[in-house]
């Protein structure tokens, strides 16, 4: 993703600032000072705008981050997050609390994103091993053998590495390692086998390791 560094730094500053402001001003959307999620759900069923807004603010980061990881495009991620919330709010009257609200929302978000990827003809999960051979795999000489990431990974670098993953690998990696879905859930969501999900995940991590090692070597070279 181009210019991601500038955006990232910028975003960090905005986040810090808005947290500071919200903390000092008693924002109505702050769950600590307002209504609980359960109350908000009930009130949203009555059509209360403030309740929808509370639910939105409670989950916006998680939903938007998920969308952004999956598509690596902020404008597209905004549209997808918007669509996910709208789908949820349209069905909120049917929510009976069998599963956690957040689980329901995240599942819905994943479906919205996958639908979009499919619409665009992007592989949701690469079923063919050939895909792995075709994509721009980093050269072996960047060393998986004797180089170690040594205990810490820069979050921004990890983000950039994830952005470089082919869509199929990225889907499984985001769902499993970032979002915490289990392989059986992923298999069900994306429509692949559990074994396939596991092998995609493993390959995604190997690729990320290569990317990260490469980035680190480049950084060392340029100072």
């Amino acid at each position: 993703m181009r210019d991601s560094l500038g955006k990232f730094v910028q975003r960090k500053e905005f986040e810090a600032a808005s947290e500071r402001l919200a903390a000092g001003k008693g924002d109505l959307t702050d769950p600590k000072q307002g209504i609980t999620e359960a109350e908000a759900i009930e009130q949203a069923k009555q059509g209360r705008e403030a309740a929808f807004e509370v639910l939105y603010h409670l989950h916006k980061r998680r939903v938007y981050s998920l969308c952004l990881r999956m598509v690596s495009n902020p404008a597209q991620a905004e549209d997808l997050a918007q669509e996910a919330f709208l789908q949820l709010f349209r069905k909120i009257a049917t929510f009976r609390g069998e599963s956690a609200f957040s689980t329901w929302l995240h599942r819905m978000t994943v479906n919205v994103v996958l639908m979009q990827l499919r619409k665009k003809g992007l592989p949701v999960v690469s079923l063919e091993e050939t895909l792995a051979a075709n994509d721009e795999a980093p050269k072996k000489e960047f060393g998986t053998k004797d180089v170690k990431l040594t205990g810490s990974i820069d979050r921004l670098q990890l983000q950039r590495a994830i952005d470089r993953l082919p869509p199929g690998y990225r889907t499984v990696f985001v769902l499993h390692d970032i979002e915490g879905f289990e392989h059986n859930e992923i298999a069900q969501i994306v429509g692949c086998s559990i074994g396939n999900s596991k092998s995609q995940l493993h390959k995604a991590r190997l690729k990320l390791r290569d990317y990260l090692t490469f980035m680190r070597a480049e950084k060392a070279k340029t100072g």
């Binding site: 403030a50 998680r62 991620a77 170690k148 990890l158 990696f173």
Partner: protein
């Protein structure tokens, strides 16, 4: 077990086995083989670090504004109509489908236009954001020499200087306090209009206005420190458009 065996069983083992519960021969090899040991610890590290990315990104305020507009258009938000029978629109609410302004009420249109214009003006005056932001209409119009004259003439319509001039002067400290600045005149005008026409919505709009003003302020501060950051400048312009959109949605809803 050899290195190739480790690579073969790793996809299954890494997530399946709880820490330390690897088969003995696997453990033995990994302990004695630096390459495999590095591989296993790196993959675990990547996996655990990834978890930190789960909710790091903040969507722009416009995302909620669009959702709210859509919910109203679909009739899913009903309290505005119930609590404000005198101002409940009888026609369907027009939902902006693009971010292009579509002003339909006289009383707010000039204000909102000025918001956009002011944004264009401030953003386009690259070399002197401090001056551009901090007052004196004459100085503001005449003195900062724009680095990009074309962009300036295209993006700073005539009302901008006049509207900006109405804003109270602020201190020109380079380090700004992280406190809420006083509302601008157009904000007050806007909130007064909302109070008159739809008192129950005042708090909502006041909060949204605060949020977008905070965004503008923080972005401006960032741009001041990093004048060459085009992303930040774009974000600043977006923030002003955001504010204009807020006005627009409000006037669609309460006129």
């Amino acid at each position: 077990m050899k290195c190739s065996d480790v690579e073969r069983v790793l996809p299954e083992l890494l997530d399946g086995a709880p820490d330390g519960a690897f088969p003995a021969d696997f453990e033995t090899h990994v302990k004695s083989c630096p390459a495999c040991s590095n591989l296993v610890s790196d993959l675990k590290l990547i996996s655990s670090e990834a978890r930190q990315l789960a909710a790091t990104e903040e969507p722009a305020p416009r995302v909620w504004l669009r959702i709210a507009a859509e919910l109203r258009a679909e009739g899913l938000i009903s309290d505005a109509a119930i609590r404000e029978p005198e101002s409940a629109p009888t026609r369907p609410i027009l939902v902006p489908t693009s971010r292009r302004p579509r002003w339909s009420a006289r009383w707010l249109a000039p204000v909102a236009a000025a918001v956009v214009a002011a944004g264009s003006y401030v953003v386009s005056h690259k070399p002197a954001p401090q001056v551009a932001k901090q007052q004196a209409p004459a100085t503001r119009v005449a003195s900062p020499i724009p680095e990009t004259p074309a962009a300036t003439s295209a993006s700073a319509p005539t009302p901008a200087p006049r509207q900006m001039a109405q804003k109270p002067a602020k201190p020109t400290d380079t380090i700004r306090p992280a406190v809420e600045p006083e509302s601008s005149e157009e904000d007050q005008q806007f909130l007064t209009a909302v109070s008159t026409r739809a008192p129950s919505m005042r708090t909502t709009y006041e909060n949204q206005l605060k949020a977008v003003n905070a965004d503008i302020r923080e972005t401006q501060a960032y741009v001041d420190r990093n004048p060459g950051d085009t992303d930040a400048r774009q974000h600043l312009m977006d923030a002003y458009e955001q504010k204009a959109l807020l006005y627009q949605i409000a006037l669609d809803r309460i006129q």
